[in-house]
């Protein structure tokens, strides 16, 4: 097969695929009969809408990002703390896990109106709902990492009479980092979903206006489909950026020692 691909090739292939996809999209739009073309706006129309609506979209992106990052950051802090507690005691773990599961299983559109009643529409409920959706993968993965420390290493620390806080900070925490980042990547993928869905249900245009979900609702309700597609594309970009940031962080923390970053040709 293809030997280790040169970086140029690596960038070239997706670009070609993308161009092909755009061509198909264009063709599909014009193949529809004129009355039905509104179903699939042409790429040009979407681009135009992106330009025409750049102000509300930019504001919406800012708002959604704020909510997503706030909820995400909160989820990281709370989940790491909770993971430490859960890793300490199997009893606590067994008692709490079903409830964490239940929270995760509750669909967002059901939680959204409840959140609005509790904290009000807007940034607070978006952050809260993003927190809820991002929290569980982080907690589960980090806890797993903290309890999965190599038994021999734990014995080693025991031999040197390490104190519990030393064991946590110098052994369990670094060992759990790869697991934490796995959870972080999952959370980063679904957090924007949470923020947008939250916004659709609980959003408000108060303050500087709603987020991307709220904009999507407006455009859909006004049948402004090119703008709706543009909003979808923007949300996608947001997800990409968040994911890239997390991948970058993971690389920084892990690349010098973790097996998953080993180059296949040493």
């Amino acid at each position: 097969m293809i030997a280790p691909m040169r970086p140029l090739l690596k960038a070239f292939l997706p670009a070609v695929a993308g161009a092909l996809a755009l061509a198909v999209w264009f063709a599909a739009h014009f193949l529809l009969e004129e009355e039905m073309r509104f179903l699939l706006p042409s790429p040009a129309a979407v681009l135009q809408a992106l330009l025409d609506h750049r102000e509300p979209l930019a504001r919406a992106t800012l708002n959604t990002s704020q909510g997503a990052l706030l909820g995400f950051g909160l989820a990281v802090v709370v989940s790491v703390g909770l993971a430490v507690v859960l890793s300490w005691s199997p009893i606590v773990r067994t008692s709490l896990y079903p409830y964490l599961m239940a929270l995760q299983m509750t669909p967002l559109p059901v939680l959204a109106p409840i959140c609005v009643i509790w904290v009000g529409a807007g940034l607070k409920s978006v952050a809260l709902l993003t927190f809820v959706i991002a929290f569980f993968p982080l907690v589960v993965n980090t806890t797993q990492g903290l309890i999965s420390t190599d038994r021999h290493l734990v014995e080693l620390f025991g031999l040197y009479r390490a104190r519990p806080w030393q064991q946590l900070l110098l052994l369990r925490a670094p060992a759990a980092l790869p697991y934490f980042f796995t959870g972080l990547r999952i959370a980063a993928t679904i957090a924007p979903i949470g923020a947008v869905v939250a916004d659709m249900n609980a959003g408000s245009s108060a303050g500087d206006g709603g987020g991307l979900g709220f904009q999507a609702v407006i455009y859909a309700s006004q049948a402004k489909y090119p703008a709706l597609f543009a909003t979808a594309a923007t949300t996608c970009m947001l997800g990409f950026v968040l994911n890239a940031a997390v991948l970058g962080l993971a690389w920084l923390a892990l690349h010098h020692w973790h097996d998953s970053y080993e180059r296949s040709d040493k």
Partner: protein, 332 residues
């Protein structure tokens, strides 16, 4: 007409003989196969749909050779996409909302009026500080995001408005004396009083100059394919409204109760009375009357389009009265 069954008949020639006999004999009109028309309503069955339910319950549609299926709407109902994609043949909507969507390329034709004046507006508490439209400056309104009336208000009065998404319960409105909520004034006030509130005031769309119809829409494709059916449909619909408003609404109300268990006799009487008192179906101006039921006026459409263009809500020249509505299917 019944098709031959798949089971092996005792006398295989018998069904064939019956079919031929039936096919050959002339059938009374009522037994001819009915043409199916699906109607997507904009809300759950209520007196605003009086024309439909009376016509359906009293067999007016059937008399015209039509089998009309009424699909109730609700909070998630998507009348416009349903009709645009052909999932439903006919839909009920506001004419200005429809105009704006037609400007976006959606292939609708507006062909009959439901209300000469759409009773939409903003619910205001009796003792709220808001008295006029200008008082809405900087306020938050619970409404459907994208409601055209809000953009209209912003442009016309130079207002800054905030919107919070509707969740269609009275709770949010009742819990705050300064709350403002989108509503239909032939329905919401009743629910609010029933829930213990005082009769709310109403900032109606036509007081702001947003004089819209409530209309019936269909897709261009359907209107091209079945013009006679649409005429028959409109005939029966107008007949239904006439009887609902002037005669005994019992059959319609019975059907509405069946379609929506939340309908009480008291509510339906209240709503119907408002429709009659406010002359919503027959027209509030001097030329209003029974003959106006269902009629659309191209001049009024043209005026609406001009107004929207002036306010910058509609790109100039994108649509005209002729390109958006028709009187072809209205009774002579």
């Amino acid at each position: 007409m019944s098709a031959p069954t798949n089971r092996r008949p005792r006398a295989p020639w018998l069904p064939v003989l019956v079919a031929v006999a039936l096919g050959a004999a002339p059938m009374p009109a009522a037994e001819r196969p009915l043409f199916k028309i699906t109607v997507q309503l904009d809300w759950m069955a209520e007196p605003e749909h009086g024309g439909f339910y009376q016509a359906a319950a009293r067999g007016f549609f059937r008399d015209e050779g039509l089998d009309v299926i009424l699909l109730p709407g609700g909070p998630g109902a998507h009348v416009m996409p349903s009709v645009a994609t052909g999932k439903a043949d006919v839909g009920q909507a506001g004419d200005i909302e429809t105009l704006l969507k037609q400007a976006e390329g959606l292939p609708f034709v507006q062909f009959a009026a439901v209300f000469q004046d759409d009773p939409a507006g903003i619910l205001v508490h009796a003792d709220s500080s808001v008295q006029r439209f200008e008082d809405l400056q900087g306020r938050t309104i619970i409404a459907r995001p994208g409601w055209a009336f809000l953009d209209f208000l912003k442009k016309k009065f130079g207002l800054q408005l905030n919107v919070v998404a509707q969740n269609f319960s009275s709770a949010a409105f009742l819990s705050n004396r300064e709350a403002l909520q989108q509503g239909y004034y032939i329905a919401e006030p009743y629910h609010i009083i029933k829930a213990g509130g005082k009769m709310p005031r109403f900032l109606s769309t036509w007081d702001a100059g947003f004089r819209g119809y409530a209309v019936l829409v269909t897709s261009r494709r359907f209107s091209r394919a079945h013009p006679e059916r649409l005429r028959a449909f409109t005939r029966a619909y107008v007949r239904g409204w006439q009887e609902y408003l002037e005669g005994d609404p019992g059959p319609a109300h019975a059907a509405m109760k069946q379609a929506n268990a939340n309908n009480t006799d008291e509510f339906m009487a209240f709503s119907r009375k408002m429709i009659i008192d406010e002359r919503l179906v027959v027209g509030r101006d001097a030329t209003g009357g029974s003959a106006r039921i269902g009629r659309l006026d191209p001049a009024r459409f043209a005026a609406q389009i001009t107004l929207l263009e002036e306010l910058g809500l509609l790109p100039k020249g994108r649509v005209t009265a002729a390109s958006t509505m028709t009187t072809d299917f209205l009774p002579e």
